[in-house]
C-alpha cells in the first residue's frame, strides 16, 4: 500500500485550533519566521498578512512556548484558542476528535501522532467502554511481518479469496451516494486487494472495470439485480436487513431518485422507493436455502454473504445461514449508518453489535462450524481500535461504511436523505453536487485510510504479543470494560 499525502479538497480543512490576529498587527512577518508549520504567510507585493492557516496550528502546546508566534509577536496581536466549531461537529459516537483523526488518516496514511485520543468515543456504551488489556511482557515481534490477512471462503468449495487486511467496504447504493463516491471506493478496493459492495441500488456500468473487487448486493427490492450482475461478481451479498433500521427495508426518498437512479432501478423519477422487508420469496429457512441455490445456479462457485441485522436470535440466524450454504455471515449492528431511515428506527432497535458478535461467534463454536464460516461485523466501526475490538469479540473481520465517507470529508451533518442536501457531494446524485468529488482523489484518501488502519492494527497486535490478526479472534480475555468513557487504552 503506497503512502502519500492526499490533501483536502478544500483550502481550509477542519482544524482543532484557531489563530486569531487582532488589528494590532503591523504585518512585520515575525510570525512567519517563528512558525515551523507554515500557519502564517504574506503574499509578495501585499502589505497585509494572509489569514492564518488554522488547520496547521499545533495549538497551546506550541503557543505557550517562548519561541512561538504568539510570544514573539511584537504587538501581541496573536492568540490561539480551540476551534469552538468542532464541538458542533459529530456526536458522541463519532466525536470531533475521531472525525479529525479519520480525516488525518485519510490525508496522510498514518494515524495522528499527537493530539487528543481518538480511540474511543463518548457514547457511554459499546466499544467506547472497552479497552485492551496489554500483557506485561510480550515476545519480540517484527511489526512489518504481522499478518493481517483473512480468508473469505472457509468452506472449501468455490473460489479461495484472501483479503490482505480484515476489512472491506459495506454496501451503499447508487442513489444514496454518488457515482463518483462509488468509483472512489471501487478503485480503492481494487488497489488494496479487498472488496466493496454495490449496495442495493444496482450495479452501474462504470464499475465494471473493477468487477473483481466488487460485491453485488441483492436486497429485498431486487433493484438492478440481473443475472449479469450476479455472474460478474466473485461474491454476492444477500441483504436481508440493515442494522440501522432492522425490520425495515431500504429507503430512497423522492428527492434522490433522479433520472439516472430511476433508470438504474427501472422505476419512476421523483417517486420514493421503499424496499420491502423481508424478501417476499423467503419466509422460512428452506426458502433461504432455495434462494442461495438460485444464485449458485446462475453463478456456480460464487461466494455468498448473508447480511442480517442483530435480532435476539442472531445466533440461530447465523447457523441457519451456514446450513443454507452461506460462506460469509455479515451481522450489521444498530450503530450503523443509513442514507435515510425513519427517526424512530434509527439507532433504537436491534441488539448492539458488541453483544451480537460474541453471541454468534460462541454459538458457531458450540455448533462445531466456526472454522467453516466467516463472520463479519459492521455497524459503526470507526477506528482501528473498534476493528480490533470487534475481532477480539469473535468476528473474523469488519465492514465499514461511514468511516470511508468521513475519509472523503463527510462532516456527519445527517442530511443524507435529502436530494441536494449533502454539503460534501458524497451522499447525493445531484449532477452538480456530485462533481465536488473527484474519484481518483477519493480513491487515494480511502487507500490512505486503510493503510493507516493496517499500521495501527499491526502496532496493537505487537503490543498484545500476537503475530497475526487471526490470532486475535475471540480473545475476549484481552478486553476489559471500564466505566470511564473517552479514556485512551
Amino acid at each position: 500500500m503506497k503512502n502519500s499525502t492526499v490533501e483536502s479538497r478544500f483550502e481550509n480543512r477542519l482544524g482543532r485550533f484557531v489563530v486569531t490576529r487582532s488589528e494590532e498587527c503591523i504585518a512585520c512577518g515575525t510570525c512567519i519566521l517563528s512558525c515551523h508549520l507554515g500557519v502564517h504567510g504574506r503574499k509578495p507585493g501585499f502589505n497585509r498578512m494572509t489569514p492564518p492557516r488554522n488547520f496547521l496550528c499545533e495549538g497551546p502546546s506550541c503557543a505557550e512556548k517562548e519561541t512561538s508566534c504568539v510570544a514573539r509577536c511584537p504587538r501581541k496581536a496573536l492568540s490561539v484558542s480551540e476551534n469552538r466549531q468542532l464541538a458542533a461537529l459529530g456526536d458522541n459516537r463519532w466525536t470531533p476528535e475521531m472525525i479529525l483523526a479519520v480525516c488525518e488518516m485519510a490525508r496522510t496514511g498514518k494515524a495522528p501522532e499527537d493530539g487528543p485520543p481518538f480511540e474511543k468515543g463518548k457514547s457511554f456504551g459499546g466499544f467506547d467502554l472497552m479497552d485492551f488489556v496489554f500483557p506485561a511482557s510480550v515476545p519480540e515481534i517484527e511489526e512489518s511481518a504481522i499478518d493481517l490477512s483473512i480468508p473469505l471462503n472457509r468452506r472449501g468449495a468455490g473460489e479461495e479469496i484472501i483479503i490482505p487486511l480484515p476489512i472491506y467496504g459495506g454496501g451503499m447504493s447508487f442513489g444514496s451516494i454518488s457515482l463518483t463516491t462509488m468509483l472512489a471506493r471501487a478503485m480503492a478496493a481494487t488497489e488494496l486487494g479487498t472488496f466493496t459492495s454495490t449496495g442495493e441500488g444496482g450495479y452501474p456500468e462504470e464499475l465494471v472495470p473493477y468487477a473483481n473487487h466488487i460485491i453485488t448486493q441483492i436486497a429485498t427490492g431486487l433493484f438492478g439485480v440481473r443475472e449479469e450482475t450476479i455472474k460478474r461478481s466473485r461474491i454476492v451479498e444477500f441483504k436481508y436487513a440493515q442494522g440501522a433500521k432492522p425490520g425495515l427495508g431500504g429507503h430512497l426518498l423522492g428527492d434522490k431518485v433522479t433520472e439516472r437512479v430511476a433508470e438504474m432501478r427501472q422505476s419512476v423519477p421523483g417517486r420514493s422507493l421503499f424496499s420491502p422487508f423481508p424478501f417476499h420469496s423467503v419466509y422460512s429457512v428452506e426458502d433461504h436455502l432455495k434462494h442461495l441455490d438460485w444464485i449458485k445456479a446462475i453463478h456456480p462457485g460464487v461466494l455468498i454473504s448473508v447480511k442480517v441485522s442483530t435480532p435476539s436470535d442472531v445466533d440461530m440466524v447465523a447457523v441457519g445461514s451456514y446450513y443454507a450454504g452461506a460462506h460469509i455471515i455479515h451481522i450489521d449492528g444498530g450503530y450503523g449508518g443509513t442514507g435515510a431511515a425513519p427517526d424512530i428506527a434509527k439507532k433504537n432497535i436491534a441488539m448492539p453489535i458488541e453483544y451480537a458478535i460474541p453471541k454468534a461467534h460462541q454459538f458457531l463454536v458450540n455448533e462445531g462450524i466456526r472454522e467453516e464460516v466467516v463472520l463479519m461485523a459492521s455497524g459503526g466501526i470507526r477506528t482501528p481500535h473498534d476493528i480490533a475490538k470487534a475481532i477480539a469479540l469473535g468476528a473474523d473481520g469488519v465492514i465499514i461504511g461511514t468511516a470511508e465517507l468521513i475519509a472523503l470529508e463527510c462532516v456527519r451533518c445527517g442530511n443524507c436523505e435529502s436530494g441536494r442536501g449533502c454539503p460534501r457531494g458524497i451522499a447525493t446524485t445531484d449532477t452538480d453536487l456530485e462533481q465536488m468529488l473527484d474519484s481518483k482523489w477519493g480513491q487515494r484518501r480511502i487507500v490512505n485510510l486503510y493503510t493507516a488502519y493496517a499500521a495501527e492494527l499491526r502496532s496493537l497486535l505487537r503490543k498484545l504479543g500476537l503475530k497475526s490478526i487471526r490470532e486475535l479472534r475471540g480473545k475476549m480475555n484481552l478486553l476489559s470494560v471500564s466505566n470511564e468513557p473517552g479514556n485512551a487504552s
Partner: protein, 827 residues
C-alpha cells in the same frame, strides 16, 4: 418459572398428506418425501398414519419409542401395566441394522405398541377426582396426562433420553426420528403397511448438535397428529397461553405447541373445526368485514379468548385426526392468514377418491404417479388442484378431507363442499396403439401435415366432446405414429399434442384429467422414443448427458428426460441446459420433470433466441432472471417463478404459485390460470403480464413499473373455465384486500365489467378512466393471449352476458395514488 422458554431453531420443511377411503400402502409416501429432500436437511423427519388399525379401532394405540432398550420393562411397570388393560402388545418390526438404510446415521427408536384401555377402577377414580362427567373424556385425558408424565420422566427431564411416546391416539400411528422421513418407511418396513390417511414431514432444524427424535414432526395432541412448514414468531406467547391452562410443552419446538393448542381447542373445549381454525388463523381486514354479522360476533369472541395462542408467522399445518366416536378420520390443511407458506390441495375423484395436500404440487404428482403405477384406475392427474386463501371469507384458509362411511368428502372451513367435475372415468392403463387397426386416421379424414398444428387442434377440439376415450387415444396414437416419420413430423406432433394437453375444450362426458394424462403420456412417448438417427433432436438422459454435450448442438433441439436427475445443483437439468447453451444449443425440451428447479436460470444476458418447453412438474424459480429467452411451461408452475425477469417471455398453461415475477423488470408473461399470493411484487421497468384467472392476494404490491401508459402493466382477467372449457368471469374478480397496494408506477387493468373490485381493495391505488390509449396498449397483449390460450378478445373478454361491450365498459384501470409527501418534481 420466569425464564423465556427454550426453543430450537425450526423453520424449514416440506409437508405432504393424502387420504383415501380405501387404505393405501406406505410406499406411496416414499417418492414425494424423496422429492422434497431439499426442503429438509435430514436431521429430522416423520410420518403419521390413520385408519391403520381396523381391528383395534377402539383401543388407544399407545406407541412408545425406546431409545434405550433396557428401560422398556421399567417404563411398562411404571406407566403401562398399573393403569392399562393391554389388549395386545406389538413390537413394530424394523430392519435388523439401521445402517442398511443409506443416509440414516442414527439408530431410530425401537417401537412398541400397546393397544389398551384404561383400567376401569383407575378410570373411575380419575374421573371422580377430576370431576369428569363423561368417562370417555376422562379416559382421553388420562391417556394424555400419562403420556406427559412418561415423556417428562424418560425424555424431557433427563440428559440421556430413554423413551418417549410417539403417539397414543386411537387408530393412529406416528413414526419419527433423526433422518429423512422416507428412511423411516424403509426402516420400519412400512412399504406395505396400509392406512387410510398418511402425512409426512421433512424437517430442517438448524440448532443443536445432538438432534433428537422427539423434536421431529409430527406432534400429537391426543387423537391427532400435526406437521408444520414454517416457523412462527410467538412461541413464547403460545407457551404462556398453554401454561395458563396447565399444559406444558416438552420438546422445544413451535410445532409442538401448535399441536397442543389444536388438541386443546377440539378436545378440551369441544370446538368444532370452524371455530378451531378461526382461533388459529383469524379472519382479518376486509375479509372480516364481508362476513355475516353473526359470524363476526362469534369470531370476535374467539379472538378475544384465544388471540395469544394464534401462531404468528409463516405456517402451514397438515393435521390428521382420528374421530372414533364418529367413526371418521380427517385430513386438514390450514394456512396462516398472510399465506406465507406455499401449499396445494388436490382431489382425484376416481373409483378411489383421494384427497391430497402438500407444500409443492410436484409432491402430489409423485403420490398419484406412485399409486397409478400399481392401480391404473387412479389417474395420475387430479381432477382439481387449488390453493386456499388464508383468513379469508371465501374459504377460510383451510380445507378438510373427511373419511366416513366408506366415502371421502372435501369441504372448506365454512363447510362448503368441493366437488370434482362429473364424468366417466377411464380407469385403465394408458396404451397407445401401434398397428393400423389400432390407430384410426384422425376423425373425419383429417390429416396432419397440410394444416398448421393450431388449425388441426381447432378441428380436433370440436370432435373431442363426442369421442370416447378410446377414440381420443387413437387420435393421440396417430400423432405418435406420425412423429416417427421424421423430424418435421415430430415437431408437428409435439406441437399438436401440447395443444391437446394444454388447452381448454369441451371434454364431453369424459373427465378432463384423463385427457390431460393421456396427452402427457403421448408426449412422453414421442419424446422418449427419439432415435439417435434424428437430425434435429438430441435425446439426453441422466446416463448419457455428458455424451450429448459433446455433440454439435447448434441448430438442434435438446430433449432432456429429467428422470433421476437431481433437482438442483451442478448435475441438474437446469445446469445441463446452461452447459448446452454455452455449446450453441438454443432449443430445449425437458420432460418428466419432477419439481426440478431453476430451469432457465444461468443463461445470462441476451439469451434471445432460446426457447425452453417443459412438461411434467416444473419446479421453483423457473425462468428467474431470463433475459431474452422464452419459457413455455406446459402445466402449472410452482413458486418464485420469473423473479427478476429482465426480458423475454414466459407462458404458463396452468396455475402458478407464490411471488410470481417478484422484482421483474421487463418481458411478457401469460398465465392461463391463477396465481397464488404476491404476484409481480416490486416489479419495475416494462414488465407486461396477463393473468387470466385471479390472484390470491397482494397482487402487484409495490409495483413501480414506470409511466401509467407505456410502462409496465398487469392485466387481470378473472376468468375460469367451466365444464365445457368455456372461459367465464369469476364472481369476484379479485377477492383479496390488496390490489396494487403501495404501488408507485405502472398500471393494473382489471377485466371487471360489473365492478366487483371496490376501492377498499386498492390500498394505495385508485381507479382512473380507461381510455383508447390504454386499449391500444393492452390490445396486442390480449391478441397474443388469444393465440396462446384460445381466450378470444371479442367472444371471451368483450362479450358480457351475451352483449358486446366496448373495452372501456369491460376494463378498469388502476394506477398508483399520488402521494405528494413522497414525490418531487425534478427540474
Amino acid at each position: 418459572m420466569n425464564q423465556l422458554p427454550k426453543q430450537e431453531m425450526e423453520g424449514g420443511c416440506g409437508v405432504i398428506g393424502f387420504a383415501s377411503a380405501v387404505p393405501l400402502a406406505g410406499r406411496h409416501l416414499f417418492y414425494p418425501l424423496v422429492q422434497m429432500h431439499n426442503r429438509g436437511n435430514g436431521k429430522g423427519g416423520g410420518l403419521a398414519a390413520a385408519g391403520c388399525f381396523p381391528e383395534y379401532r377402539d383401543f388407544y394405540a399407545l406407541q412408545v419409542g425406546y431409545l434405550d432398550q433396557t428401560v422398556r420393562k421399567v417404563v411398562e411397570e411404571a406407566r403401562i401395566t398399573p393403569f392399562f388393560d393391554v389388549e395386545k402388545t406389538q413390537v413394530h418390526e424394523s430392519l435388523k441394522d439401521f445402517r442398511e438404510v443409506p443416509g440414516l446415521e442414527i439408530r431410530p427408536p425401537d417401537v412398541v405398541r400397546y393397544f389398551c384401555r384404561v383400567k376401569r377402577d383407575v378410570l373411575e377414580e380419575f374421573a371422580l377426582k377430576r370431576g369428569f362427567k363423561s368417562l370417555s373424556k376422562a379416559e382421553d385425558q388420562f391417556v394424555y396426562e400419562n403420556t406427559y408424565s412418561l415423556n417428562r420422566e424418560y425424555y424431557a427431564d433427563i440428559e440421556d433420553k430413554k423413551a418417549f411416546v410417539l403417539s397414543h391416539g386411537k387408530d393412529l400411528m406416528v413414526m419419527k426420528g433423526v433422518g429423512y422421513a422416507e428412511h423411516f418407511i424403509t426402516y420400519y418396513r412400512l412399504e406395505n403397511f396400509k392406512a387410510r390417511i398418511w402425512i409426512g414431514h421433512q424437517r430442517y432444524p438448524t440448532r443443536g448438535r445432538v438432534w433428537h427424535p422427539g423434536g421431529a414432526h409430527p406432534f400429537i395432541g391426543l387423537n391427532d397428529a400435526l406437521v408444520h412448514n414454517g416457523d412462527f414468531a410467538n412461541y413464547y406467547s403460545v407457551c404462556e397461553y398453554l401454561k395458563q391452562r396447565d399444559i406444558e410443552p416438552l420438546f422445544l419446538t413451535d410445532t409442538e405447541v401448535a399441536a397442543l393448542v389444536f388438541d386443546y381447542y377440539t378436545r378440551n373445549l369441544g370446538y368444532d373445526l370452524e371455530t378451531a381454525i378461526e382461533a388459529l388463523a383469524p379472519t382479518t381486514e376486509r375479509d372480516f368485514d364481508l362476513l355475516p354479522k353473526a359470524r363476526q360476533r362469534l369470531y370476535r369472541a374467539i379472538r378475544m379468548a384465544h388471540i395469544h395462542a394464534s401462531p404468528d408467522g409463516p405456517w402451514f399445518f397438515i393435521i390428521v385426526r382420528s374421530l372414533p366416536e364418529e367413526g371418521a378420520l380427517q385430513l386438514l390443511g390450514i394456512t396462516d392468514t398472510a399465506m406465507l407458506r406455499p401449499h396445494v390441495f388436490a382431489l382425484d375423484d376416481g373409483p378411489l377418491r383421494i384427497g391430497l395436500v402438500a407444500s409443492e404440487k410436484q409432491a402430489i404428482d409423485a403420490v398419484l404417479a406412485s399409486i397409478n403405477a400399481e392401480n391404473e384406475e387412479v389417474c395420475p392427474v387430479a381432477d382439481r388442484y387449488w390453493i386456499s386463501r388464508g383468513g379469508s371469507h371465501t374459504d377460510g384458509g383451510s380445507f378438510v378431507f373427511t373419511l366416513k362411511d366408506g366415502t371421502l368428502t372435501c369441504h372448506d372451513k365454512f363447510g362448503k363442499a368441493v366437488e370434482a367435475p362429473r364424468g366417466e372415468e377411464y380407469g385403465r392403463r394408458i396404451v397407445f396403439g401401434k398397428t393400423e387397426k389400432e390407430t384410426a386416421v384422425l376423425p373425419d379424414e383429417i390429416k396432419p401435415g397440410p394444416i398448421p398444428p393450431a388449425e388441426l387442434f381447432n378441428l380436433l377440439r370440436s370432435t373431442i366432446s363426442s369421442q370416447s376415450y378410446d377414440d381420443f387415444l387413437k387420435t393421440l396414437s396417430s400423432l405418435i405414429n406420425y412423429a416417427e416419420v421424421g423430424d418435421e413430423e415430430r415437431s408437428y406432433a409435439i406441437e399438436t399434442l401440447s395443444l391437446l394437453r394444454d388447452r381448454e375444450y369441451n371434454p364431453g362426458s369424459k373427465r378432463r384429467k384423463w385427457l390431460t394424462a393421456m396427452g402427457d403420456a403421448a408426449l412422453n412417448e414421442v419424446l422418449s422414443s427419439i432415435p439417435e438417427t434424428s437430425g434435429k433432436f438430441i435425446l439426453a438422459g441422466i446416463n448419457n448427458k455428458n455424451k450429448a454435450l459433446g455433440w454439435d448442438l447448434t441448430g438442434k433441439i435438446l430433449v432432456i428426460d429429467a428422470t433421476e436427475f437431481p433437482q438442483e445443483g451442478v448435475e441438474s437439468v437446469a445446469q445441463l441446459m446452461v452447459d448446452a447453451y454455452r455449446k450453441g444449443c438454443r432449443r430445449f425440451i425437458a420432460f418428466r420433470l419432477k419439481g426440478d428447479r431453476f430451469i432457465g436460470c444461468g443463461l445470462g444476458t441476451n439469451s434471445a433466441g432460446v426457447r425452453i418447453d417443459t412438461y411434467g412438474s416444473c419446479g421453483d424459480y423457473a425462468g428467474s432472471g431470463l433475459d431474452g429467452a422464452e419459457l413455455y411451461i406446459h402445466g402449472s408452475g410452482q413458486d418464485q417463478l420469473g423473479q427478476i425477469l429482465n426480458s423475454g417471455k414466459i407462458v404458463i398453461y396452468g396455475d402458478v404459485g407464490q411471488t410470481f415475477l417478484y422484482g421483474a423488470k421487463g418481458g411478457e408473461v401469460y398465465v392461463m390460470g391463477n396465481t397464488a399470493g404476491r404476484p409481480l411484487i416490486n416489479a419495475v421497468g416494462s414488465i407486461r403480464a396477463v393473468i387470466n384467472g385471479t390472484c390470491l392476494e397482494y397482487a402487484a404490491e409495490s409495483f413501480m413499473a414506470g409511466a401509467e401508459i407505456g410502462g409496465g402493466f398487469l392485466i387481470l382477467n378473472g376468468l375460469k373455465p367451466n365444464v365445457y372449457g368455456e372461459f367465464m368471469g369469476l364472481q369476484e374478480k379479485f377477492s383479496g384486500s390488496n390490489f396494487f397496494s403501495l404501488a408507485s408506477g405502472g398500471a393494473g387493468y382489471l377485466n371487471d365489467p360489473y365492478h366487483t373490485v371496490t376501492e377498499d381493495q386498492l390500498n394505495g391505488g385508485e381507479f382512473v378512466e380507461f381510455t383508447q390509449d390504454d386499449w391500444n396498449v393492452i390490445h396486442s397483449c390480449l391478441r397474443e393471449n388469444e393465440r396462446l390460450f384460445g381466450i378470444q378478445v371479442e367472444r371471451d373478454l368483450l362479450t358480457v352476458d351475451r352483449i358486446r361491450k366496448w373495452p372501456s365498459q369491460v376494463f378498469r384501470k388502476v394506477i398508483a395514488c399520488r402521494k405528494p409527501a413522497l414525490e418531487v418534481v425534478l427540474e
